[in-house]
Subunit: 586 residues, 2 copies
């Protein structure tokens, strides 16, 4: 929080008629309180908005030439890790699109590195001009038996709950835990409640009495609505509904019918998970604003959902509006419908122009990286498995089949060709892929093997990635053991990342050394590498166009989404919530 | 704040399928989040709303018979002292009208008794079922040279700023102090800022750059708007506008054109100052709701202004809506347009029926009264002045003239008839009244004398009152010295209050022993006494129908409202901001 002396300094300068830092004339200023735009001037001094005087003397006077002047946008719920960029680099990517504040849930890094991971996000974000608020991950690990890198109890979270940029408890995915009053879950809710903090929700398909109880327990947001009815049910219960527009989930347009002049103030925008390539191509929250306007929302109302609504929902009193006393974080936009800012100011300083980040990097790296960049090499078993032999003596196996554009899978029972020893034989199962999930946190050497339906594609090679929700063990898929082993080894060598091998050669790679999830490289570099991976997946591997090559792999190890998943401990049947054999007994 | 264990208890009972306390069926429930009413059931357990189940087993099931079910109302800014009732008795008066929460600024008692007075309000309120939140008075005394009972610095306020029911700093009336950056004013603003508390405003006729700076300083509300333009200017700057409907100020209807679907969330209701008789006759915030509906505001929007808007503006997260997790404080109303509740529930308990308060008084008086009930007898000079001789040697005097229905006065220069010694002579100035203001806090024995224009009325006697803003010295007016002296003496005898004498006899009285401002008696008793005073003022004294008999007197000693005022130190010319003589020199 700013100190009051900061305000006093500004007031003193104005009382002494000192010229202020900046005056922007001739702008169409967004008044998010009155719900309109007005032609006027904006006065800025020492990073704060001081008012609308048209005559105040200023060091710099800019003619906005009737451009729209909007507060910088808020992402109300984001896992920065999904961008594959460190918070500081993520900032450089999203600020040019007009994002100034994000409410981030470092759920991914927390699964790998626990509190150290969260601290890294907090610290690394301070090296950026983006205001990164943190919700403490509430569900690490996702399930008690998961092979995750960390487990966070209420006592652990208590260490960070009072940190300046921590706003509360991240998405409470353990809905049954809330409803059945799991003691460890209630402890976390009580912790947030005690410090008067926000509790974020995650309640897909929770309705009626269950939703009442979930809300009663203290949850006040939900970003998992996919239908208008769900949104309405939540708003009625006093919850804020986050309209999500991310890489995989495109709920925003579907939910817009729930937005009207009454409900508007309870509706916010978020991305949840958005890869750097997607952000580069389509923008960030400005893309949400654009989509909303395109689908009939008044521009000022779209701006409100992207700004003041989130500021108010999360208790951020000096942000989200163009008004005296607010942080001078704003943008100028020529075409409100396209919402591509040609100038972005953070706390009074011009930091991006025409989509390019131009702020000088004048902060030093405070975040301790050492402990985070060895998350693969030093935490894996000293030897990677060398043998991917997969026995299917019954010649009938449970095969994971992806559904189009979905994280859901089906369990398909298939006849399998085996070699003389009863092991899976690639040559006798055309197109069928082998899957491996290798534990990488506790040196257990555990590895699960499975089979993936040929529909996925992937010919002549293998892919391995250290991004695999939520525990982020290493997952690999391929049509031959050699490439799979090479890809796994390469991911280890990079200390995390994505690797593609074909006929024994490295085709493409992306190093993600920060907890095996993020790069410290510039957005441009990461985007280039990632794009090359995508191109390779499509052109060389012929991966199914209804599956995201990496997203599909990254969710194959998450044992909470039905039906069949693969963990380092083996196949997991989510429908029965039990481990199961790959070989089907007759 | 409720403890989380409270929520856990409720959740446990529901998990164990224990019958809940109360279910209300067949109600038209106000959904202040979606902006509509819906037919349904409300489930209540242990004082909290648990949901909308129609089937949950309950100890008591009530058929609402399609009555409207609304959250109890909020008064966003009130000086409880103006009701002349203690907080606990005020609660009994307003709860039957559906008020459940008030944001109170104990500015009056603070001027008499400082921190002890504020503590009394906090403590005494706890003996009631009304939720009384306190804003710490920011301007005690009103002016540095005032003869007030206390002076409160930032250091003093720091003692209470973290108290549970303290929400921030009360109306910052010292606008010049803010704009000129008076150090003591900034200290108070900084105190509120430091603890992330609200700063209430008071900025009549402040516009443009001045308003920018006032808002910049941290002020986020204003209840002094009288024009739509003022309201709009404030909303644009991110301030909440409180539409006031009190005893003297009737701004609500005038301000309604500033309310639309966009600005609504920034508009709240308040009474500011409302006497017990007025509340009894016209209601409290339900009167504001009624007026708003009558003038075209949608019922649900009027309800929102009276509930959730205030809850959100003041950060009260478990109040102001009918939703799971909220306090079960609500009312049933048969006619939404009239908005007279036939049943009021506070935290799940029926406390008022058909306008009658029915809750058992089961709390003990915790508040220390001793120090407050001697505010007149023990703090006044041992002897009341016995001589009201008023010399006007020049035979030309400055006379205070009231303006109709206003707190403003005019200074009228009049020729005065005097006796042989050059003193004012009643017999030679038909209808002209003598005014006396007697210091009652510091035993100084100071008394100011002045003249009041005959237009006020008041024949054949005198009135004295210990309510006189803001310092609350004793003010008296009369057409003969004897009755003035008797009335003054009687107010002293009652330890504060209002007294009327005529021809040496007591006509009517109201004892206000709590700091000379409030009674500890039941509302009914106080209302009866006060009504008798009003009737006497009208029938016996023939007081001008364009002046409130007591309000006019009570503001004659406030040296911040133009033009001419009388203090214990003498006449004060507010236009020149200097003391002045009663006698005009040729």
């Amino acid at each position: 929080m700013l100190k009051y002396t900061k305000f006093q300094e500004v007031m003193q300068d104005i009382k002494n008629a000192k010229p202020i830092d900046l005056r922007i004339d001739n702008a169409q200023i967004a008044d998010v309180f009155s719900g309109n735009f007005f032609s006027g001037s904006l006065c800025v001094h020492k990073g704060l908005i001081v008012g609308f005087s048209k005559t105040m003397q200023a060091e710099h006077v800019i003619d906005a030439k009737k451009a729209w002047l909007l507060p910088t946008f808020f992402d109300a719920h984001v896992h920065i890790e999904s961008s594959m960029l460190s918070p500081e680099k993520f900032a450089k990517l999203v600020i040019p699109f007009g994002t100034g504040t994000v409410i981030a849930d470092p759920h991914e890094i927390a699964n790998v590195k626990g509190l150290d991971g969260i601290r890294f996000m907090l610290e690394n974000a301070k090296d950026s001009l983006l205001d990164v608020k943190i919700m403490l991950p509430s569900c690490v690990p996702a399930l008690p038996f998961e092979c995750a890198g960390a487990a966070l109890s209420a006592l652990d979270l208590a260490e960070l709950i009072q940190e300046e940029n921590v706003l509360g408890l991240g998405e409470m995915m353990n809905v049954p835990g809330v409803l059945m009053q799991d003691e460890k879950v209630l402890e976390k809710l009580a912790l947030a409640y005690k410090y008067n903090k926000i509790i974020d929700g995650h309640a897909p398909m929770v309705h009626g009495d269950d939703l009442d109880m979930y809300r009663f327990a203290g949850v006040t947001t939900d970003h998992e609505c996919t239908t208008v009815e769900e949104a309405k049910e939540r708003i009625r219960r006093g919850m804020y509904v986050l309209l999500r527009e991310g890489s995989a989930a495109h709920d925003l347009v579907n939910l817009l019918p729930a937005v009207n002049s009454h409900t508007l103030q309870n509706c916010l925008f978020c991305t949840d998970d958005k890869q750097c390539t997607d952000i580069m191509q389509r923008g960030h929250i400005n893309n949400s604003v654009r989509l909303a306007i395109e689908h009939g929302i008044e521009p000022i109302d779209a701006v409100r959902m992207a700004t003041i609504n989130t500021a108010r929902a999360y208790g951020l009193t000096h942000k989200g509006a163009i008004a005296p006393g607010m942080e001078a974080s704003f943008m100028l936009v020529d075409d409100i419908k396209q919402c591509n800012p040609h100038a972005v100011y953070i706390q009074g300083t011009l930091v991006a122009e025409n989509g390019t980040y131009i702020a000088a990097v004048n902060k030093s790296y405070n975040a301790k990286l050492e402990q985070l960049t060895d998350s693969v090499q030093n935490s894996m078993h000293p030897e990677l498995p060398k043998d991917l032999t997969l026995p299917v003596p019954t010649k009938k196996a449970r095969v994971i089949r992806l559904l189009p554009h979905s994280l859901l899978t089906k369990c398909e029972i298939m006849d399998i060709g085996v070699d003389e020893e009863g092991n899976f034989d690639f040559a006798k199962n055309k197109g069928l892929l082998k899957l491996a999930v290798v534990e990488r946190h506790k040196k257990t050497g555990k590895m699960g093997l499975g089979l993936l339906h040929s529909e996925y594609g992937l010919r002549n090679g293998a892919i391995a990635t250290s991004i695999s929700h939520d525990s982020h063990n290493i997952v690999a898929a391929g049509d031959n053991d050699n490439d799979i082993l090479l890809a796994l080894a390469h991911v280890e060598k990079m200390n995390g990342g994505i690797a593609m091998f074909s006929y024994g050669e490295l085709l493409a790679e992306l190093a993600l050394p920060v907890a095996g999830l993020m790069s410290m490289q510039e957005p441009k570099t990461v985007i280039t590498d990632l794009q090359k991976l995508y191109d390779t997946a499509k052109e060389h591997y012929h991966i199914w166009d209804k599956a995201d090559a990496f997203m599909s792999l990254s969710f194959l190890a998450l044992p909470v989404i039905p039906d069949l998943k693969l963990t380092p401990q083996g196949l997991f049947d989510v429908t029965t919530f039990q481990f199961t054999d790959i070989a089907v007994q007759e």
